[in-house]
């Protein structure tokens, strides 16, 4: 597991951990079932407080990314769990909303948006091929 903390990001440390671990799980970098260091080991390794890592793990658990085993550690939950799916859906919605806002300012119509989306999907498929 890779966590890089920034002192100057203006983002609380627990949130940085949460976001980075969450991203790693969503990207598949951390596979289902893989073990995460315990809250205390992570605090030691990052030289941060136990309360901070506890909070990050608690948030990750609440969002369905990981499960914590008291006294042992934590492991990555299957990605298709409903909570994570909901999480992803929310991200999609947020992204599309942002696109919609930009489109309105640019004066784009529904057809234009769908065209752009199709274009992006095709480009991605081409890239994969």
């Amino acid at each position: 597991m890779r966590v890089v903390l920034s002192n100057s990001a203006g983002v609380p440390l627990y949130q940085q951990i949460k976001e980075q671990v969450g991203t790693a799980i969503l990207s598949g970098e951390l596979a289902e079932g893989s073990a995460l260091p315990s809250v205390r080991a992570l605090a030691r390794d990052l030289r941060i407080s136990i309360i901070t890592t506890t909070r990050a793990y608690a948030d990750l658990a609440a969002e369905g990314f990981i499960a914590t085993v008291p006294g042992k550690g934590a492991y990555v939950l299957p990605l298709d769990s409903a909570l994570v799916r909901e999480q992803l859906l929310r991200q999609v919605e947020d992204g599309l909303q942002a696109a919609l806002d930009a489109a309105r300012r640019a004066g784009l119509q529904r057809e234009d948006l769908i065209e752009i989306l199709d274009g992006l999907i095709h480009a991605e498929q081409d890239a994969v091929r």
Binding site: S38, R40, A41, A43, R44, D45, R47, I48, S49, I50, I51, G71
Partner: protein
Amino acid sequence: MSSELAFSLRGVGAAVSGSFALRDVSFELPTGYVMGLMGANGAGKTTAIRCLLGMRGFETGEIELLGHRVPGPVALRQDVGVVLHRTYFVGDWRLAEVERALRPFYDRWDRARYRQLLADFGLDLRARVKDLSRGMAVKLMIAVALSHQARLLVFDEPTSGLDPATRDELAGIIGDFLLDEGHSVLFSTHITSDLDRIGDYLTLIHEGRIAATGTKDEILDAYRVVRGGPDDLSEPVGVQLIGLRRTPAGTQALVRTGEAGLLSGDVLVEAPTLEEIAVHIGARANRRDPHPGASGGTSRRPRPDVGRQDRGSSMSARETA
């Protein structure tokens, strides 16, 4: 409840000398966490630690350590390891002799652990105590504490005089110790960068009184730092300016978060760093204000007793909890 606390001090008062005393000192640490005890030189950190460890008496209040009232059974000291700014071993002892001298006193002394720790810390069994550097001496005291399997480690300014690399190593050693949820750490310091990262709880002590205690986030949330021009922040209503510093270039002070809204427009209000909190709280009596008349009262230098009463009423011991 008490078994979940590594220790607690409640309303502790102890007269040290004619002019200095701990007054109504209360703070506590849940088992399994790290607390930083922060304050300027002479603020009462060491006195509080000595009271906690039963190394000196106290007149009022009560102290609980690992579930026992202090002064408690002497066996309690089996569970406590103490790291002070100088060693309390004979300078001419070799590290092997340190073990031979101390081992008989401890029920759970682990010889293999002592040797392993010395090796891990890069300490030679044949070295003499007096030849150890500051960092090595700290590590020796930690090795002793871990070898008798202490559950609570108490450090009195462990990082003063240590280089950054050794400080980081110390943070790692403390982190290792805390892998066990039954272990707790208290350390006093006036260097805030060390606490900034590994401290779970913080207690700020100033002139023998507790200025604030709570989790680190609670403390950080409780204050705001305000900055303004040289003429700003004069006599604000309902706002206590903590450690006001007025120079020809500008003015800076600490305020309680709840009062920050009462400040008039032209000042910059920001979340403080621990360093800034420490500086302003520590500065409250030491700093001589160049313009006492314009200082809004808080940074004027009243007679010590008056000052203490003032602080006592305005800063309750557990205001952030």
